[in-house]
Symmetry: D2
Subunit: 461 residues, 4 copies
Amino acid sequence: MIVRRSLLIALAITATLSGAAHAADDQSSLQPVLNAGDNVLKFDWPAVSVGTGEYEEGPTGVTVFRFDRRVHAAVDVRGGGPGTVNTDYLRIGYEVPEVDSVVFSGGSWYGLESTTAVATALKDDDIRDGIWTNLALSVGAIIYDFGDRRLNEIYPDKRLAQAAARAARTGMFPLGARGAGRMAKTGHIFDCGAYSGQGGAFKQIGDLKIAAFTVVNAVGVVTDREGRVAACYRDKDWPQGELKTAELFGAFPASSKQGAWRPMAQKLDAKRNTTVSLVITNQKLDRARLERLATQVHSSMGRALQPFATELDGDVLYAVSTAELEGPVDESPTPNVDLDIIASELMWDAVLASIPPQQQIKQPDPNVTFTTAQLRSFAGDYVFSPNVSVRVTVEGNKLVAQASGARPAFAIRKENTVELLPASKTEFVVPGRYPTTLSFTEKGKLVLNPGHWQQVGSRKK
Amino acid sequence: MIVRRSLLIALAITATLSGAAHAADDQSSLQPVLNAGDNVLKFDWPAVSVGTGEYEEGPTGVTVFRFDRRVHAAVDVRGGGPGTVNTDYLRIGYEVPEVDSVVFSGGSWYGLESTTAVATALKDDDIRDGIWTNLALSVGAIIYDFGDRRLNEIYPDKRLAQAAARAARTGMFPLGARGAGRMAKTGHIFDCGAYSGQGGAFKQIGDLKIAAFTVVNAVGVVTDREGRVAACYRDKDWPQGELKTAELFGAFPASSKQGAWRPMAQKLDAKRNTTVSLVITNQKLDRARLERLATQVHSSMGRALQPFATELDGDVLYAVSTAELEGPVDESPTPNVDLDIIASELMWDAVLASIPPQQQIKQPDPNVTFTTAQLRSFAGDYVFSPNVSVRVTVEGNKLVAQASGARPAFAIRKENTVELLPASKTEFVVPGRYPTTLSFTEKGKLVLNPGHWQQVGSRKK
Amino acid sequence: MIVRRSLLIALAITATLSGAAHAADDQSSLQPVLNAGDNVLKFDWPAVSVGTGEYEEGPTGVTVFRFDRRVHAAVDVRGGGPGTVNTDYLRIGYEVPEVDSVVFSGGSWYGLESTTAVATALKDDDIRDGIWTNLALSVGAIIYDFGDRRLNEIYPDKRLAQAAARAARTGMFPLGARGAGRMAKTGHIFDCGAYSGQGGAFKQIGDLKIAAFTVVNAVGVVTDREGRVAACYRDKDWPQGELKTAELFGAFPASSKQGAWRPMAQKLDAKRNTTVSLVITNQKLDRARLERLATQVHSSMGRALQPFATELDGDVLYAVSTAELEGPVDESPTPNVDLDIIASELMWDAVLASIPPQQQIKQPDPNVTFTTAQLRSFAGDYVFSPNVSVRVTVEGNKLVAQASGARPAFAIRKENTVELLPASKTEFVVPGRYPTTLSFTEKGKLVLNPGHWQQVGSRKK
Amino acid sequence: MIVRRSLLIALAITATLSGAAHAADDQSSLQPVLNAGDNVLKFDWPAVSVGTGEYEEGPTGVTVFRFDRRVHAAVDVRGGGPGTVNTDYLRIGYEVPEVDSVVFSGGSWYGLESTTAVATALKDDDIRDGIWTNLALSVGAIIYDFGDRRLNEIYPDKRLAQAAARAARTGMFPLGARGAGRMAKTGHIFDCGAYSGQGGAFKQIGDLKIAAFTVVNAVGVVTDREGRVAACYRDKDWPQGELKTAELFGAFPASSKQGAWRPMAQKLDAKRNTTVSLVITNQKLDRARLERLATQVHSSMGRALQPFATELDGDVLYAVSTAELEGPVDESPTPNVDLDIIASELMWDAVLASIPPQQQIKQPDPNVTFTTAQLRSFAGDYVFSPNVSVRVTVEGNKLVAQASGARPAFAIRKENTVELLPASKTEFVVPGRYPTTLSFTEKGKLVLNPGHWQQVGSRKK
């Protein structure tokens, strides 16, 4: 089957050799949204700047970490589907600070454009150049935020990443569904489908500073220190009340059963994830110590994200030392491990801080009724992207919808129509495990799940 | 300082170039104890045999896993102080089953002799030979079980490992302080000093078999699924009742403060550890899948052992496939990850199964009294090993002890005498956080902490 | 000193946070030159397409390898300064073909934009999308072609790489200073300063196909099978006639003495290099075999490039299997190694095929004379890039030049003026080990070293 | 087929679970031969001691490198069949010198016992102990010297390695077929079957010292700086006179055609090899620099050994710094690479120094005749090891031989008898590409290829 597809691809390649880009893939009209978000981690560390950029239309985004000096960095790769830039150089491990920025991005492998973009911005801004000792070194990693979680393939591109890099500011890190975490989700292994985001935590002990940042997009569930699942759209058959991660594992694999918008055809995509993380300290650490920090903190994340480091994730962690502080400040007999332990606990805090308020599941309102004529005013073909369209029609006195493009639109499938139940004068819902609200606007738009993660389709003329 | 010691070492080397081995290091009179222990995990898997060997005089031991065919194996190294044999060959990753045995051993790097010993036994027993396609391939790893936890440097040697390999049997795995886990401990990062051991767990789902084995010797604490510390000698100032690992981290670094027998001079040794693990499945897995299994299971162990993969550990995990079963048996859309998840939960079970009943702390009995003459009958120099001796003397009407060799003996230090309080007609104790019971035998022996981990000294004539 | 520069950089960063890109860094007006070059390796392999793109103004370029199906790939990194994208994913090593393209580029780390650009082009062209199983996977590596070898910092960007990807064609590979090898050089360790390029070789044995491609930019010298240096601007004190690499090593480090345009201030840059290579076979190879192919071929390159894999190089080799051919076709007892050996010999051929005709050193012509007025017509400030300008003035009746920007221009230094000796009515030379010809055009341009690697400056008004 | 063999093995395992070692595998009566050999590299470096141990009966041996202080070490693994101990610890890369010894050994994976043996000797000799900061750290690697190159499976064991370690002396390194190189061979890829050994080279430049040592056992041919094959038993159809490595590759794969004693049944064994190497400098190098030294020198060995790093080799190189000398002494702009280059050239010298005088091929002497009775006095079953016996019989008036054990004995095969042609009153030969001389002694021994690599069989009573 793979072979057969290869042949088709071969034909496609031939066909497009002289072709131009698909118009719909042109991102030049998208507006970068920079440093958005009111829920912000504040921290006192002039050496560390953070800039976020988002394209609302995705939504998707990028988070750029810049430093006011070159820093030392190490990397630990544990997931089964990583996307990285320049990690081979880090592994050489010279005892010279050389890294200018760490870039996390949505958009899967396409989003790696963000990492090189920040290096180029530094060159264009005359901070770095082509002299060997003054080259810009940007490293990065991406999360998978495509698939059935959104209805388009917009990715954080060079323009967005450079804007975020230039907007970087010290002392503030937006929490929740911001930056690279704009379209992050967690818990797909149990079909939780929870919305996620980016988290951060900071601690200062005397002169020692440690910060932990993470874009939480794990196939596993976020778990707090009491063992509770932090966010999950539950299956209707599950117990309500407190939900423990250990319970989900105890019932595994039954607890991973298929949810409303994960039919088999889409199964693998729904379960593609990746968590990317960054731990920074101002303590000077040699290469082995920095790698130990990366290793221990990354291993510790298996507590906050369960499961972790799976084949379905592409987990990558960077450890950075700004080397502002010489030597350990701790009187402990094991100062290195102490630092690693404190950083690991901070990382757990950071993971917990990543969770945004979840999208509410709107219920149908039996008191709302429409005339057939009114229903017909909603009918139409709504285009979300080249591959996703929804056809809304009236059957009898019901409004129904069906996906009419190459891919489904959440609970609106290609195989059959689904009834849309009225929830208000402009809103309909498809009841189920996950939010599926359709809001029709006066301007001929269909907004799926209005709110922070909404998807907007336009009625075809 | 390092340089200065190097000079001394240089002199030492010169001095001993023509010298013979220290007589006290001769292990030829030690008696191998094979497959000891009543607390046994039983499992139905003819392909997997386990043999354990122990030297009571250490105590220390070795655990040998043998297979009835050559198996596929991968390795994941995460700790900061690993000791391994032949892992480079595993990393080449040929799709041919070649591994004959996995060997875990006490004795730190000296214990690696156990791994090569099993290969040689296979050759000597005419199962393998020197033909390239029939070479014996044994891989292994060790734990650090020296330092201030025992008073000698006996290690599992070739003779012990070969005896254990030849005694290997299917279906039974001794739990607790047995085999390579004979002198394992955990929780030193919080000065818990808990006795530990080796654990195992087995699960069969249809034809699919998975087993998890581990020698738990972590600097971290064993943590159960409720977040509780599974074993720890607590500091007297700590709350009694349920002890949560999260509480210890919350109070860190205060919770890692120095215990009764960990003065600064010994600090680093007390906190040297290592957990070595093995996960086996009968499902055939290609190289990438087998490495994913190793990665995910090893990452998951950060839940059961907190902290994990520190600089003070040398954590190594081997993943083995016997390839008896073709393809995944699971109908799941993500069968590989399902296997990894189930194996990870099993490994948590295995860690929990490793904990032996702890050594009781004996209390002094105020009703027991001695005459000075009686006390004098206990006095003497008791030799535990070339480096450890205890001088018992009478001061006034008290019995006191002081370490008189190069190293201390638990709470009996070199710096000063410590009073021994009567607990019975032949036993004395040094009260404190950890067990320190001295039992004098009629044959002129001094037994420290009589029981499973006892140390025996002989009165110098 | 590093710290001090960091502070300056910090200021610079602050200053530019809200700034826009330097106008001079805008590459949007550069014209991609695609598939240029008459010296072409022809090969019969429909599965493999090659596209090259060049910016003459650099010069610099990119070489894109595309496949008509997804292919298996492995990577071997040996140099001390690699620049790579997505190698971590390759190392996971799934037995599924997933790689769409391999991209080699000039422009050092900035040139990595080329690798992600090709993936995005595949998405934009609707060959790939965001579905996990249909993501575009592009891997790549870069060479260092900045420093004192050219007078600007133009790099192969997204636009150039996408144009090259779309222009890819089967059966043809341009040899010499083309594509990513447009500004490659070799032999800097001996100050040879030879111009280099990209090479390729192809062999078919029955149904078995093997191709070797390489962008040769080594700090070492290209060496043929007779041990001769293939290209080198020799020091005037060196013997003429046949030059053996072994002789250069025999005289090392004297043979690495400083050349005419490598004063100490520039020393490290002149000696930054990197050779990136690709070996492709149509034989299906599992992961271990593919990695063995990469390892053996890369190791073998130490014969053709001496020295190789140094700290000053960033050598990376990708091995690709199109898996068109099942199993080894060879009756040899060691078919895998046979393949590796044949591929290694091909790679040596490929290296030798990379060398372009060298830039001739023009001699002054004592018969050419100028009046002072004529000389004055050449005078002026010629701007090559924001950092490089040359001031030409008349001293007495001599024309002299001095670098007036931040960086020197080959033999025209910042420290002092150098006399320009007439070579023709419009050309002057600076005699020395390396070519330094200045050609003044009627349009107020100064062309340095007219020809394939020329640098063009414009007279400031 | 593999599965079927596994079943047999399973039965074998069961059968021997309670069995004892094969008497013939008992090596306790073998006599260690220490520091043998008159052809010695002398070098002035008190920090470095070398001890060799050999068992003539193999022959096989071990080479132990000891240091008068703990040293820094890095490792580079490039071959397809490595055997190593404790390399994972080296890769952690602490900036603390910890390595006590590097051990090279014959005996394939069984020979790794030599590495742990040296660590244990240091403990037994009271130089090291069980305290974490004073553990002995020994690293090592092995070569494959079994297969059809010798008629037994004797390997360098603990006793031999400890004796060699204790006999280590400074300033002398035996060259040729000594120590671990006692039974080394090269060139099997071209069926050269040349005898090889261990080589060394030393250079001092001012205070800087560099030494290169290698046990050359490559499947490739040793190649000198003129491109000539240094040692090879040529095929009779090959040209005589100077033999260039490039010629052999040019004629490949024809040049790898089967030789006289490599029928297909033995093919893989004959072509199993491995070269293990050590480069030492007294300059202090941090981890990245030490790894660069290892990488560059190991890559450079592809010139002296062609092919190199194949699947049939297990090439491993250790790089060691004694850190006696702070900082680079070189005024070069690229001191690190200079060091690596010089070390690489030294390693080539070391490889060339490894070749011993080859075993002469004795010719039959037509003037020597025997009576049938005389011939009968030679007849008998000669046992070389449990697996190899040769039956000598008289057929008509000819002496013939046939292998009667499980394996052949060089040109004396199992399939048929081969005529033994008289060469002297006690010697017979089998003409062919390789030496096959049979010498009958008065004491009922049959010596195959009398001389340095002779194999001795005893007539069965």
